[in-house]
């Protein structure tokens, strides 16, 4: 009778070695147990599947990355005729396509400019007030008052995350974005200073295209050479977290904004 060590039994279980015909009864019993545990584990995990919202988000990311520029061009019977007519078609196309292309090019520029402006707002928020005396600023500490101060200035309710869970509100600051006055505030989370800028633009208009899920909330991420950006839509605004921290860290105050919200006191 042939006894096998545990590691040899592993090889038999993985199909890397044949089971000896004269395997001793102790090893045979052990192998049966190993097979039973393997089968039970496989069965236990068989029902675990990625949640639908996660699947949708990742599929959207893949579509965004592999989008129209990588799709196969449709092949039609007109291809041969088109070749003969192509100079005329090309001239018409230049007129038809040129204008939208220019606007796309400018939109690329404008999102880059938007991200530069956001990074500048963050940089300005980080400066001590005496280095930046012209900036309208409200000190941190009282979330309701901070929210009220910003809401008054932009004419619509602006919310802030309730401090706690390792997050502090440091100051509210008014800033200029695309020549308009916008609200922003500075939070400190786990040693990272993060600006939250409150905008009416959609994340896509800011070039924040990559969809990400954080704690079950869909957000839009982007990165420039200076900062990372993460945006979430909430109560008609886009709240953009700006900072040098990773997207995972930027998500923390945004998740807190969505789950522990402070709004101005209604008087």
């Amino acid at each position: 009778m042939t006894p096998l060590s545990d590691e040899q039994l592993e090889d038999v279980l993985q199909g890397r070695a044949d089971q000896p015909e004269d395997l001793d009864s102790t090893s045979a019993a052990k192998l049966t147990e190993m097979k039973a545990i393997q089968a039970r584990l496989q069965h236990a995990f068989a029902s675990v599947q990625a949640p639908d919202r996660l699947r949708t988000t990742i599929e959207q990311q893949v579509t965004d990355a592999t989008g129209p520029r990588n799709q196969d061009k449709p092949r039609t019977v007109f291809t041969q005729r088109f070749r003969r007519l192509w100079p005329a078609v090309a001239a018409a196309a230049m007129l038809l396509v040129g204008i939208p292309l220019l606007s796309v090019a400018f939109s690329g520029d404008s999102t880059a400019v938007a991200q530069t402006e956001l990074a500048e707002i963050h940089e300005s928020n980080l400066k001590p007030h005496d280095h930046n005396p012209s900036q309208e600023r409200f000190p941190g500490g009282q979330p309701c008052e901070m929210a009220g101060w910003m809401s008054e200035r932009v004419g619509k309710t602006v919310a802030v995350p309730t401090p706690g869970d390792g997050m502090e509100l440091q100051a509210s600051c008014m800033a200029s974005f695309r020549n308009e006055k916008v609200a922003s505030y500075l939070v400190l989370f786990d040693g990272n200073s993060i600006s939250i800028v409150v905008l009416k633009e959609q994340p896509r208009d800011l070039g924040l295209i990559a969809a990400r899920m954080f704690a079950g909330h869909r957000m839009n991420a982007g990165t420039s050479d200076k900062c990372n950006f993460l945006a979430v839509r909430f109560e008609g605004w886009t709240y953009v977290a700006v900072g040098e921290a990773s997207h995972e860290v930027l998500a923390k105050p945004l998740v807190r904004l969505l789950t522990a919200t402070t709004r101005p006191d209604r008087k």
Partner: protein, 182 residues
């Protein structure tokens, strides 16, 4: 080298496997979702480094493993690395083996959740090795590459993990009244 437009066809079918692995690693659904998403974002970015014809599931699992290590380092919760030999000596304590008269019958008493929870109680290296081998059906060589250890270590970890899981389930079976105390 793979073309990014094949990502949907080659990598996406492994989404459930990656999520299961993330869940086994993190033991938390929300963290597992974030880890899965980051893994796919990185995989998409680096898809040109994927060798066509190789095991895409194993390639994704390696990205998942490295991403998780990076995240733990970022949170500064990774303990000091223990050399393999030292680890083997420390864990080589003799354990009185448990014997089951009918393993399959006994295991049927547990719910899927209880089995997954018992696996989650094992140390991470054992847990992931056993998961990748038994649940995801990866080869010992693939797991060695993913976890960055020699094939011999994968073998011994699998064996130790299986014994440890059996012991856990045995204890739970006694606690739950499926088995009497000896």
């Amino acid at each position: 080298m793979a073309d990014v437009k094949d990502f949907q066809k080659i990598a996406m079918p492994h989404l459930d496997s990656v999520f299961r692995a993330a869940l086994a690693k993190t033991r938390n659904r929300t963290t597992a979702e974030d880890l899965t998403q980051t893994t796919f974002a990185k995989a998409l970015q680096r898809f040109d480094t994927y060798r066509e014809g190789s095991n895409c599931k194993a390639w994704l699992m390696r990205i998942l493993h490295n991403t998780w290590i990076d995240q733990l380092r970022h949170r500064k919760v990774v303990g000091p690395e223990v050399p393999v030999e030292e680890e083997l000596i420390e864990q080589d304590e003799p354990v009185e083996p448990t014997s089951w008269s009918d393993a399959s019958d006994m295991l049927e008493n547990f719910s899927d959740e209880q089995v997954i929870r018992a696996l989650g109680e094992l140390p991470e290296d054992q847990r992931m090795t056993l998961f990748l081998i038994d649940v995801e059906g990866l080869s010992q060589e693939e797991v060695a590459e993913i976890t960055d250890v020699p094939v011999g270590t994968v073998k011994s970890r699998t064996s130790r993990a299986r014994s440890a899981l059996k012991e856990r389930l045995h204890e739970h079976a006694i606690d739950l009244g499926f088995m009497g105390r000896e």
